[in-house]
C-alpha cells in the first residue's frame, strides 16, 4: 500500500470531510438522496414519543385535519392558478415530517407526486440548513423544478415551506403545479426535440424565493426572464405560495389543538401504518416472478424500438421490481427519465390501481426494491436530457400496472379492480405563440386527460375517462379555452371509430381532435407521443391492445376559408377527411406522434386521436348485444363486428342472428386449433438470436437482460453493439433532417450518374 492510499485516522478523516464539504465545487443532485425512495427511520424524538401510549383518536384527527388542509390548498390552486395544468388538476399539495418524509398529499391531483417530492426537501435539509448563506427560517419558501433533484418532470414547479413550532422545524409543506412553460427549447415545458439537458429549460435546484415572508424580487425577475410567460411565472408563484401558507396555517392550528407531541407522532405513525399495511398486502400475492416486456417505437424524433422489461418478484412481504435490460439512455434525445421519475411512474400504478385506498405517503414504497441498469433510459446520468421524461415515467407506470392484475387475480382480498392496462401516452397538442391578447404563451392542451380506461374483468373500459395519473383531472371546456388561445378544435371529443382495444370487455376508447390556428401572427403546435408503429398499451388475459395512432396534417389551404366558401367539402371526421381528401389543393399526410414545435399557418389542420385502454379477455366471449351497441353508438364498424367479434347480424336493424353467431364463433375456435402450433414448434421457427435486421433496436433481447443491444452512431455511421449496459458507449443519434438530406444527396448523385437532369 502506498502512502497515498493510507487511510486517515478518525480525527484526520473528520478534518478531511470538513474540508471537502466546505470546498465542494458544485452541489449537484446527491445520489445518497436521489437513490433513496423510502421513508427515513424514526428520529430520536419520534422514538421517544412512540414508546409512550398513543391516542389513536387524536392521530386520526390530525390525519384528517391535514388532508382537509391539503384538499383546501388543492382547491385554491385549481381555482386561482393561471397555468392550464392548474385548472384541470395537474397539481398537488403535500405535508412532510421535519426530516422530509412525505406523509400526505391532497386527495385530488397527480398521485405520482407522492413519491418524488421528498427529494428536494431532503436536499434543503442536508445542504441549506447549515449553509450560512442560505439557512432555513420561519417564513422562508423554496422554489424548485429540476427533476434531477426530484420531480416528475421539469415543467412542474413547487413551493416548499418549513413549518416552525417554538423555533424548530416541525414539518414541511409543499405545493406543486404543472406550469407548462419553463423556458425550454420549445414552448410548453416538454420539449420533444431537446438534445441536451440545457435544452430542457429552467433547472431550479431548491432555492429560497421567499425570505422570512418576503418575495425575492431579484430572483423572480431572473426567473421571469428565463421563461416565455413572465406573468404566469409570477401569478402561479403567488398561487402556490399562498396555498402553501394555508396548509401551514392548518398544520399550526392542529398543533395548537393537539400539541406538538401528538402531531409528531401522527406523522410518523401514518408512515409506519401505511408501510405495515403495504407489506401485509404484498404478502397476500402468491410468491413468484411476474414479467412483462413493453416496447416504445419512438425517441419522439425518429422511430426505433426501445425495450422496457419488467420483472416483479414477490417473496413474502417484499416486492422487487427489476427494470434491468431497458434501453440505454440517449444523450441527445428527450425521453430519458431520472430514477426518481421512473419510480414515481411505478408508484402511480400502485396508488391509483393496486392500492387506491391507502393514504398517499412515501412509505408505501418501503417494501419495494427497484433494480435498474445505471445508464439506462430509466436511470440516466445527470447530463441526459429529460424534456420528455414522461415517456420513461409512463412506461414505468405501464409495465407495473400491466402486471398488477396478474399478481392479484387469485387474491381473496383486493383493493383495486382486475383491470387491463390504461392508455399510457401523451396524446395531446402542445402549443406556443402569440395569442389574440398579444401575449406569448406556451403550454399544453387538456386533451392529455382524455385517456381511455382499461377494460375490467366485468365491464368495458370508460371512454376518454381520465389520465392514469390523475383520476379527477378534467379535459376542460373547449369554448373557455378558446377565449385564451388562438386556435379552435374543429373536431373535438368525438370517439374515433374502431380505435378500440378489442376483448370480451373492450377498452375505453379515445377521441379524435382536429386543430387549426386563427388570428395570430405566430403560432405553432407540437406533439410528444409514441405508438405510431408499435401499440403502446397491451390488453389483459387474451384481450388485444390499442391500435397505433398517427399524427395527421392537412396543409396548404386555409380551412376557415374553405369552410366559409365550400362548407359542403368539410367533414367532421378524421377518417373521411384523410381517405376522401375532400378539400381540393390541400396536402394530406400522416406522421409519427413526435413533432417538435411546427409553425402553423392560419387554417392548417393538425389531427390526432386519444388512445384506448387495453381490452380484457377473448373477443369471442363478448356479448353480441354489446357489439351491436358499439355499432349503434358509432364506436365500431360493421366490419369490426364481423371480423373481430364474429357476430352475424342484420346491418340494417342490428338484430343478431344468435345461432349463426354461435356457429361463426365455434368455427373460429376450430380455426384457432388448426392454425395454432404447439409451443415448442412455434419457438423453433419464431425465436431469433438478435433483433430484426433493419430496425434500430435498443435494450435486451429475450430473457437475458444482462446484454443490451444498441445501434450507436459514430463518424462512420451506425454500428450495432451488444454489450452490458456498463460498457455501452454514449448513444447519440444524428438529426433526422441531416439523414434525410444525406439520402437526398445520394439520390441526386445517383441521378447525375445516370445523366438525368438534376435540377428537375
Amino acid at each position: 500500500m502506498t502512502q497515498a492510499q493510507m487511510p486517515y485516522s478518525a480525527e484526520e478523516q473528520i478534518k478531511v470531510d470538513e474540508f471537502l464539504a466546505g470546498a465542494t465545487l458544485f452541489l449537484g443532485p446527491d445520489p445518497e438522496i436521489m437513490r433513496n425512495h423510502k421513508s427515513a427511520p424514526r428520529t430520536p424524538l419520534e422514538e421517544e414519543l412512540l414508546s409512550q401510549p398513543i391516542d389513536s383518536d387524536a392521530l386520526d384527527k390530525v390525519r384528517k385535519r391535514i388532508v382537509a388542509g391539503l384538499d383546501e390548498a388543492y382547491e385554491m390552486m385549481e381555482q386561482t392558478g393561471a397555468a392550464p395544468g392548474a385548472k384541470w388538476g395537474d397539481l398537488t399539495s403535500a405535508v412532510y415530517s421535519a426530516g422530509g418524509d412525505l406523509v400526505h398529499i391532497s386527495s385530488g391531483g397527480v398521485l405520482a407526486f407522492a413519491s418524488v417530492l421528498h427529494y428536494p426537501v431532503r436536499f434543503i435539509n442536508k445542504y441549506w440548513a447549515s449553509e450560512p448563506s442560505v439557512g432555513i427560517h420561519d417564513g422562508d419558501a423554496f422554489i424548485h423544478n429540476d427533476a434531477r433533484y426530484g420531480n416528475i418532470h421539469c415543467t412542474d414547479q413547487s413551493i416548499i415551506m418549513p413549518v416552525f413550532h417554538e423555533g424548530e422545524i416541525i414539518a414541511w409543506v409543499a405545493t406543486v403545479v404543472h406550469e407548462g412553460e419553463n423556458g425550454a427549447k420549445e414552448p410548453g415545458g416538454m420539449p420533444s426535440s431537446s438534445e441536451s439537458a440545457f435544452d430542457d429549460g429552467l433547472r431550479m435546484p431548491p432555492f429560497k424565493i421567499f425570505e422570512r415572508g418576503v418575495l425575492r424580487r431579484d430572483l423572480l425577475t431572473f426567473l421571469q426572464n428565463s421563461v416565455r410567460e413572465p406573468k404566469l411565472q409570477y401569478q402561479d408563484l403567488k398561487v402556490k405560495y399562498y396555498a402553501a401558507l394555508r396548509i401551514k396555517e392548518r398544520v399550526l392550528a392542529v398543533i395548537d389543538e393537539v400539541g406538538r407531541d401528538t402531531f409528531v407522532v401522527s406523522l410518523r405513525k401514518s408512515l409506519e401504518d401505511v408501510e405495515a399495511e403495504a407489506r401485509r398486502r404484498v404478502s397476500l400475492v402468491p410468491d413468484g416472478t411476474y414479467r412483462v416486456n413493453l416496447w416504445s417505437d419512438s425517441t419522439l424524433r425518429e422511430n426505433l424500438l426501445l425495450k422496457y422489461p419488467c420483472a416483479i418478484t414477490i417473496k413474502g412481504e417484499e416486492m422487487t421490481i427489476d427494470w434491468r435490460g431497458a434501453a440505454p439512455q440517449f444523450l441527445n434525445r428527450a425521453f430519458n427519465s431520472t430514477l426518481g421519475t421512473s419510480k414515481c411512474g411505478m408508484n402511480q400504478g400502485i396508488l391509483a390501481f393496486l392500492w387506491p385506498d391507502l393514504p398517499r405517503g412515501i412509505s408505501v414504497m418501503n417494501s419495494i426494491e427497484i433494480l435498474t441498469d445505471p445508464g439506462s433510459c430509466l436511470d440516466p446520468t445527470d447530463d441526459a436530457p429529460l424534456g420528455q421524461s414522461l415517456q420513461g415515467a409512463f412506461k414505468a407506470f405501464a409495465m407495473t400496472q400491466a402486471l398488477w392484475s396478474k399478481l392479484t387475480f387469485s387474491c381473496e382480498e383486493k383493493f383495486g379492480a382486475i383491470i387491463a392496462p390504461w392508455f399510457n401516452q401523451i396524446n395531446t397538442f402542445l402549443f406556443g405563440g402569440i395569442t389574440q391578447h398579444q401575449e406569448f404563451v406556451g403550454n399544453v392542451c387538456a386533451d392529455l386527460n382524455g385517456m381511455g380506461g382499461g377494460a375490467r374483468a366485468y365491464s368495458d373500459g370508460e371512454h376518454s375517462m381520465a389520465p392514469f395519473f390523475a383520476a379527477m383531472a378534467d379535459i376542460g371546456e373547449q369554448e373557455i379555452i378558446e377565449e385564451d388561445v388562438p386556435f379552435m378544435q374543429l373536431i373535438s371529443k368525438k370517439i374515433k371509430r374502431d380505435n378500440q382495444a378489442f376483448g370480451k370487455y373492450r377498452g375505453g376508447m379515445g377521441y379524435e381532435m382536429a386543430l387549426a390556428a386563427k388570428g395570430t401572427p405566430f403560432w405553432g403546435f407540437a406533439t410528444v407521443s409514441s405508438g405510431s408503429k408499435f401499440p403502446p398499451t397491451p390488453g389483459l388475459f387474451g384481450g388485444y391492445g390499442c391500435p397505433t395512432l398517427p399524427l395527421a396534417k392537412i396543409k396548404g389551404v386555409n380551412v376557415f376559408d374553405e369552410m366559409k366558401n365550400t362548407p359542403e367539402n368539410w367533414q367532421f371526421d378524421f377518417e373521411t377527411l384523410l381517405n376522401e381528401q375532400p378539400i381540393p389543393g390541400a396536402r394530406y399526410s400522416t406522421h409519427h406522434m413526435g413533432m417538435a414545435l411546427e409553425l402553423a399557418n392560419e387554417g392548417d389542420i393538425f389531427m390526432m386521436c386519444q388512445g384506448s385502454g387495453g381490452g380484457y379477455g377473448d373477443v369471442l366471449e363478448r356479448d353480441p348485444a354489446e357489439v351491436m351497441a358499439d355499432i349503434e353508438a358509432g364506436y365500431i364498424s360493421g366490419e369490426t363486428a364481423r371480423e373481430i367479434y364474429f357476430c352475424v347480424f342484420d346491418p340494417e336493424t342490428l338484430a343478431v342472428n344468435e345461432t349463426a353467431t354461435t356457429q361463426a364463433r365455434d368455427a373460429e375456435r376450430r380455426a384457432r386449433l388448426e392454425r395454432g402450433r404447439p409451443y415448442p414448434d412455434f419457438i423453433q421457427d419464431w425465436v431469433t438470436e438478435a433483433p430484426p435486421e433493419g430496425i434500430p433496436y435498443y435494450g435486451s433481447w429475450g430473457d437475458d437482460n444482462s446484454m443490451i443491444h444498441a445501434v450507436a452512431w459514430g463518424a462512420a455511421g451506425p454500428i450495432k453493439l451488444v454489450a452490458p449496459m456498463a460498457q455501452m458507449p454514449p448513444i447519440m443519434l444524428p438529426d433526422p433532417k441531416d439523414l434525410a438530406i444525406l439520402g437526398l444527396q445520394a439520390e441526386i448523385a445517383a441521378l447525375r450518374a445516370t445523366g438525368a437532369p438534376s435540377d428537375a
Binding site: 387475480f409 381473496e412 374502431d498 408503429k533 408499435f534 386449433l673 402450433r677
Partner: protein, 141 residues
C-alpha cells in the same frame, strides 16, 4: 383450496401441480413451468386485428401496427380454442415467461382455504366469483 384461479382463463390445480384451462379444464402444463409451453401459438399479422383505418396506399401511418416491427402472438387453449393470452412482440422476440409461480409457497398460502372461496374482481361494484365451480367440474360443455 385445490384449484387456484390465476387469470381469467387459467387455474393451478395444487394437487397435481398443473396449469389448467378454466373454460374446459384442459391440462396445459406443469404449474412449475411456463403455462405457455402447453398452449397453441399463432403469429398474427397485426394489420388483421388493427386494420388500417386510413388508406395505406396514401399514408405511412394508418392506425395499423407496422408488421415488420410488431407481431401479435396469440396463445390458444388446445382443448377449447379460447384465446388465453396475447403478446405484442417484435418479430423473433421470445414470448415472455409472465407467471413463474412459487408452487410450494402457493400451497402454503392457500392451505386451510376451502374449495368454496369467494374471489372478488373489483371493489367499485361487487363482482365476485366462487371457486366452487372448479371443484365441481364434471367435464366440458
Amino acid at each position: 383450496m385445490r384449484y387456484v384461479p390465476m387469470t381469467e382463463y387459467l387455474q393451478i390445480d395444487l394437487n397435481d401441480e398443473r396449469w389448467q384451462c378454466r373454460r374446459c379444464h384442459h391440462d396445459i402444463a406443469s404449474a412449475r413451468e411456463n403455462y405457455k409451453t402447453g398452449l397453441l401459438v399463432y403469429d398474427r399479422d397485426p394489420r388483421e386485428i388493427h386494420r388500417p383505418l386510413i388508406d395505406p396506399e396514401k399514408y405511412e401511418f394508418t392506425f395499423s401496427p407496422d408488421p415488420l416491427w410488431c407481431r401479435i402472438v396469440e396463445f390458444y387453449c388446445p382443448g377449447c380454442g379460447t384465446m388465453i393470452e396475447v403478446e405484442y412482440l417484435p418479430p423473433g422476440h421470445p414470448p415472455t415467461y409472465d407467471m413463474e409461480i412459487d408452487i410450494d409457497a402457493l400451497r402454503a398460502q392457500k392451505a386451510g382455504h376451502g374449495d368454496d372461496v369467494v374471489i372478488p374482481l373489483g371493489r367499485d361494484i361487487p363482482v365476485n366469483f366462487s371457486t366452487k365451480s372448479s371443484s365441481q367440474w364434471e367435464g366440458g360443455k
